[in-house]
């Protein structure tokens, strides 16, 4: 049933997606008892297995990166031949880092869910694993209808994860999240249908690009189709002013879900923008590049300014995500090699760094039961370990050398400067602002006069430390040895630049 085009293909992406579903099945068969830790262990074991397999896949991919065939590890199956619709999943240099990021964060989050999942654990971890399948599907689909299916599929577990395990305004947040996303994906759906009928070669991204039909359309049509996709990705990314669902969703979601939301889900927008918008409509992309860059800069500055004004820790980080997504948008809009690599590396870097930030907020919230910055203060004395890890996280977020965020930002800004010097200088303001809000946050939460209320707060436990150090390890490893990722990304960006050229 499945066709493997390369000889090294002993690993399959389908397996990465099926293993979590097997986990769901095992959890479902766990009998009636709701007060057991079994689902926790099953989820942790499953996500760990998938993570290890994705790492093996990455190591196997590495020596072949840069070859002619970018799509290694491919599974295909003619699903509905009448509609020219097939199950077609593959990884290339763009999707592989995203897959590894997904499987890594899912593993970390399954550990971070240790207490969250105590309420209806079976349902929680079943949805959690289901989410993993959907996310891997999003990043590996070559068939665009399949991509759309996985894109929508991810909504269902997310809706429940926020809506059942979230904070006080969880229903509002989850409904807003799903409505924004579904409304926006209608844009992509229309564009997909249009491409289907205009190109007439089915839904495969590869065949549509190869046919070159879309490039022959008038610029107006190209821009309209571009806009359909962009609407969908812009909501996810999120681009100001379509970002308002994000702070609500982030604040209401439980810690591990916030991590996934910021770490993986936002990247879906950037990934889609890069792969589909840029790949399918290179002319329209060039035509609209300046607009995209301006939107990116607005995101950077506006997001950072909003982050400065927040009184809730989670909101600071939520808006900092908005700001950092602007870096990615600016990098991609610059349409040059360096900025592309920077933007994609930034996707990975932000995914790991923001995970650390949300994990730290989770640590504090678990103990203090508040995220109000004004109520906190002087926590460094009660929680020295948390304090120092938070400081390191802040450095990573600000873009201090040694962390992967630094490399990503340098590449992005140097690349972007070549295309949009003025805009880049304005955007650089975002770095200053990010230093301001991160360090100010650190200062108000951990330093300052000791507050008696917080006496007796316990420092981080073993599991929390493990999660933080695991993330920190990745952040520093790819910060010091960026070629680990860049070597994989680079061929994909070169290929895309060829299309744009």
């Amino acid at each position: 049933m499945f066709v493997n085009p390369t000889e090294l293909n002993t690993l399959s992406i389908t397996a990465l997606m099926v293993i979590p579903l097997i986990g769901v099945l095992i959890i479902a068969l766990q009998g009636k008892s709701e007060n057991t830790k079994a689902p926790h262990y099953i989820a942790a074991a499953t996500t760990f297995t998938v993570f290890v397999l994705s790492l093996v896949m990455a190591f196997n991919y590495w020596p072949y990166a840069g070859g002619d065939n970018q799509y290694l590890f491919r599974d295909t199956w003619d699903w509905v031949p009448y509609l020219n619709f097939s199950y077609d999943v593959a990884v290339d240099g763009l999707s592989l880092p995203m897959v590894v990021l997904t499987t890594f964060l899912l593993f970390i989050c399954s550990l971070a869910s240790w207490n969250v999942g105590d309420k209806q654990p079976k349902l929680y971890f079943a949805l959690f694993l289901f989410l993993e399948t959907a996310l891997i599907g999003v990043f590996t689909s070559v068939d665009m209808l399949l991509f759309f299916i996985f894109w929508e599929l991810e909504l269902i577990p997310m809706y429940f994860l926020i809506g059942i395990w979230g904070g006080a305004r969880r229903e509002y947040a989850s409904t807003k999240f799903i409505l924004y996303t579904v409304l926006a994906s209608a844009g992509m759906f229309i564009s997909l249908l249009a491409i289907y009928f205009l190109a007439g070669v089915g839904f495969s991204y590869e065949s549509v690009v190869a046919s070159g039909v879309l490039r022959e359309l008038s610029m107006l049509v190209q821009v309209l189709l571009f806009a359909g996709f962009f609407l969908c990705f812009a909501v996810k990314l999120p681009v100001v002013p379509l970002h308002t669902w994000l702070p609500d969703a982030h604040v209401e979601a439980p810690t591990p879900v916030s991590v996934l939301l910021a770490g993986v889900l936002l990247k879906m927008g950037a990934y889609g923008l890069f792969r589909f918008n840029f790949g399918l409509f290179p002319e329209a992309t060039q035509y609209l590049a300046t607009t995209l860059a301006v939107l990116g800069v607005i995101n950077i500055v506006y997001g950072a300014m909003l982050a400065l004004a927040q009184t809730d820790m989670k909101k600071v980080i939520a808006y900092s995500s908005v700001s950092h997504m602007g870096f990615i948008l600016l990098g991609l809009a610059s349409l040059n090699h360096m900025a592309f690599n920077g933007g994609i590396l930034q996707m990975f870097a932000h995914g790991t760094i923001t995970a650390m930030m949300f994990l730290m907020v989770g640590v504090i919230y678990d103990r203090a039961h508040t995220r109000e910055i004004a109520k906190l203060g002087g926590l460094a004395q009660q929680m020295p370990m948390a304090s120092s890890l938070f400081l390191i996280t802040s450095f990573a977020a600000v873009g201090v050398p040694g962390f992967n965020g630094f490399i990503a930002e340098v590449l992005t800004f140097v690349g972007a400067f070549q295309s949009f010097p003025v805009l880049t200088i304005i955007a650089a303001l975002g770095i200053v602002l990010s230093a301001a809000y991160m360090l100010w946050l650190q200062e108000r939460v951990f330093y300052g006069p000791r507050k008696a209320v917080w006496n007796g707060l316990k420092d981080m436990n073993g599991l929390e430390k493990f999660n933080m150090f695991a993330c920190l390890f990745v952040v520093m490893l790819t910060g010091i040895l960026p070629f680990l990722i860049l070597d994989i990304i680079n061929p994909a960006t070169v290929q895309l630049l060829g299309l744009l050229g």
């Binding site: 699903w79 509905v80 009448y82 759309f148 929508e152 599929l153 909504l155 269902i156 809706y159 249908l193």
Partner: protein, 498 residues
Amino acid sequence: MHEKDLIMIFPELLLIAAIFIATVADLFIRKENKSAVGYMVLLGMIGAMAALIGIKDYSTTFTYAGTFEHTGYSWWFRIMILAGGILTIMMSFVYAQERQSKPGEFFYLIAIATLGGMVMAGSGNMITVFLGLEMLSITSYVLVGMQREKAFAAEASFKYMLYGAVSSAVMLFGFAIIFGMTGTLDLAEAGAQLGGLLQGDASPAATMAMIMVLGGLGYKLAVVPFHQWCPDVYHGASYPVTAFLSVVSKIAGFAIIIRLVDYVFMGSGLEALAAQWALAFAVIAAASMILGNVAALPQTNVKRLLAYSSISHGGYVLLGIVAFMSLREAAPSNIAFLDGATSAVYYLFGYLFMNIGAFAGLMHFSRMAGSSEIKDIAGLAKKSPAVAFVTASCLVSLAGLPPFIGFLAKFYLFGAAVQSGYLWLALVGLVMSIVSLYYYAKVIKALYFDEQTVTDINTTPSGAGVTSTLAFSFAGILVSMFLAAPLIEIIRWSMERL
């Protein structure tokens, strides 16, 4: 009579035998054992299904003088109708015993109604269409009114009967005009004659006749503007009956519509008129989708919500028929690519499972809470997670989200509509799908997110019947998505033998 003719209607004969046995047996079975009647009927239906599957490739030119035909088309529609009947019976056991004053009758009335639907699906003649329709309708009137202790049910039944009788009469009048013009009752023959008579020009009499026929069938399908009865009747009837009406009755109606469209509306010589009819259908489809979905938004009662949603789904299926008419006009012999009728029937097949699944699941929760108000079923997902899961899946599928058939089927329909030049209609459908997500999510949200409000929960199990209905429905919405290719193959095969 030919021996071959008997094989052709063998499934129906089996079902009639089962109904007869069950009817007689009902007289001797005590009230608390009435489930036995249900089992007899169910057994008969399963036998009929087996027989149907057995005669798939049985082809004959002998028909009962064209009144009843065994073609691939009628074969597939009979399969769908019978499957709907089986699922309805399965979900009825608990409800019939608890809520119906005559549980035995309840079962074989559903079987008779199913038989009526099968007759409709096989009919090639206006008289048979009418007979089948009335067999389905009259039993439905009774079924709706069977909860005797509820005044609301009586009102619903009365309303249903009044509307039904008038619309049947209107349809019959339409048939009479066609008969008057062509001198034949045979659908194919009438279409051919009309083509010769009209020579491509719309004649007032023929137009009038077609509008009347459409009115009568539109009532069965509950499409706008023939839908007013629907919310009240669905609300008043018991869950299994509502499920039956919304699925089996609708499928039977579409069986006739597609056939009429093919034979009469698009008979040779009528191609030019077909485009105008397609536009009329498109307007009805758009109105049904808009009204159904928008009116479902403020509903607080599960049944009324599903009633409006089923109006909108009638509109979606019509979208495929619009495409069928326009595509056929554009390329009369091309049935190969994005065929409108195939997409409509594929959608109906998915709808069969997702709607019955949704009704069965919500029946379970309403029974637990003792009310079908959305606020009263709040928080019950914790009490029966498996049922909640299937119900939510069916609702998600109805909303058109993946990974269930609702997504692919809608996609297929929209694709067919775009292909046939009805882009605006596909866009209406798309926007309305998004609207629909809001009210389906409302039910899911109540089940999962909200705190339980009703204190005395009825935890008596709903029985194996409901469980297996849910299992079949879930398998249906999943399998028909993943095995779309062979399924579409079968449907296309049957459409080629219309």
